[in-house]
């Protein structure tokens, strides 16, 4: 009886939240000169999922997510993001897609010459239908979400590493993206701050039902956020599974990430 109830539950769940694919890559390839970075990547990423990407430094993780926003164009294979084939987009359509994707850069990529407020206002430049008051309210809300309300008129150089990461996150979230791409969000932070950031990532996903792809070396972060993990090795996906599955993997190389 309980099993049946559970089945029904799952079926209705599936009806209400169809597992639609938001990113699909098939035989994706990319090289820089002779350096073959992505050799044959095949993944489907579902709506609302938190996918963690592991891999040694230089294995092409950043290149992979940069392909998803068209910062780097792939050589071969197909890449479909939010039902749009990235090969066929003109610059207007590409910009429309980009507005639905948030990208948190490894370095934070805050605009050094602008204040915190101007940093947050920058993604809203094109939102012509929004009044000034609405924009201000949105900026204040975004800062409150990451606990940085007091810094609104400071310059990014006056912020600490953790604050910069949180500001980067706030700036990325201000357009309420459907897909979030995090490039090493906790690298270079102390354990407490990186735990805060990890929890923030989870919170964001729950609040806005975003799909997230998180590149990280930080296993405590992966443990908190991951629904599914993939491991990169020499341009292909060498392993895939949940945190527990990979932690108990028979492959010594995969296990070595968890030590």
């Amino acid at each position: 009886m309980e099993a049946l109830l559970k089945d029904i539950h799952e079926a209705t769940d599936a009806l209400h939240h169809p597992q639609n694919v938001v990113v699909e890559m098939q035989h994706l390839k990319k090289s820089f000169g002779k350096n073959e970075v992505l050799k044959d990547i095949n993944i489907k990423i579902n709506k609302g999922e938190n996918l963690v990407v592991l891999g040694k430094s230089g294995s092409g993780k950043s290149v992979l997510i940069k392909c998803m926003v068209g910062l780097i164009s792939h050589d071969e294979g197909s890449l479909v993001v939010l039902d749009k084939n990235m090969d066929e987009l003109n610059s207007k359509e590409l910009n429309a897609i980009r507005k639905k994707i948030g990208f948190l850069f490894q370095s934070g990529a805050l605009y050094d010459s602008m204040t915190v407020r101007e940093n947050l206002a920058f993604p809203l430049r094109d939102a012509k239908d929004m009044s000034k008051e609405e924009k201000t309210a949105l900026i204040e809300e975004a800062l409150k979400n990451v606990g940085l309300s007091a810094t609104i008129d400071k310059m990014p150089s006056e912020l600490s590493g953790g604050m910069r990461k949180r500001l980067g996150l706030a700036r990325t979230l201000i357009l309420k993206p459907e897909i979030m791409l995090y490039d090493e969000p906790t690298t270079g932070l102390d354990t407490i701050t990186s735990k805060e950031i990890s929890e923030l990532i989870l919170e964001v996903q729950k609040k806005y039902n975003t799909t997230s792809i998180i590149i990280t070396h930080d296993m405590s972060c992966a443990k908190i956020v991951a629904n599914r993990m993939i491991v990169f090795k020499e341009g292909v996906i060498a392993a895939e599974g949940t945190y527990n599955q990979l932690e108990n993997s028979k492959d010594e190389w995969v296990k070595s990430f968890f030590q």
Binding site: K66, V69, L71, N95, R98, K99, I101, F103, F105, Q106, S107, A109, L110, Y111, D112, S113, F122, P123, R125, D126, L175
Partner: protein, 280 residues
Amino acid sequence: MKNLVTQLSSIEIKAKESLTKIPLKLEVHYNFIQNFFTDVARVAIFTGRFFKETISPPYEVNELLKQCYFIGYKSLPLVGITGFIMGLVFTIQSRPTLAEFGAESWLPSMISVSIVREIGPVITALICAGKIGSGIGAELASMKVTEQIDAMEVSGTNPFKYIIVTRVVAATIMLPVLTVFNDVISMFGSFAGVNLKGDVSFYLYFAQAFAHLDFLDVVPSLAKTFFFGLAIGLIACYKGYNATNGTEGVGKAANSSVVVASLMVFVIDIIAVQITSLFY
């Protein structure tokens, strides 16, 4: 017999080594030439893209005004001080030579003609190649290596329009303005220089200074300053926008912006002089 074999094989190894060395040397030259031409081609493409993006809307007017303020207004003190000193020193240095010919009264007109035609534009351009070129080069390079330009692009703003077009256009507009400013201040410097020995009234000095200036002095020399500004802006933006290799690349970009921009100032100057000489 054994000896012979080892000898032969050692000869063979040497031959192979020298064979592999020859193409290597060739390759170095080949790479240098190839790099030079790919660089030239890329600058040409960059310039083409600049014109295309400048013409097509939307226009980043606010950012352009801001850059005019930074590039133009903020350079006024430096340009003014150098202009004054240049006029002063030039006058003091020229006086003995003219005095030998008994032509001291020509001093104002000689100085004003040489300043307006040549020295003012070139000195201003060189100062700007240093100040603006290194500023833009370093700023863009650091934006590039810290991924700020990528961040702009993914947030749906065209970084080429927002960052590059505004700076290059601002440099192109502001260089002539700065040159005129420099020319005027130089003449005041020269007026001060004339008055160090002897006494020339303000009115007389400027009447003489402008007496020998005509259309063919002013217009071509101002026209070339537009090209100086364009070249300085384009080169600095190109170097900064294409910076790589982290913080090391920032210094490199700033440095080569200044070097190449200064060189280009002279190249444009010589072309401009050839063209204006056609009209004399």
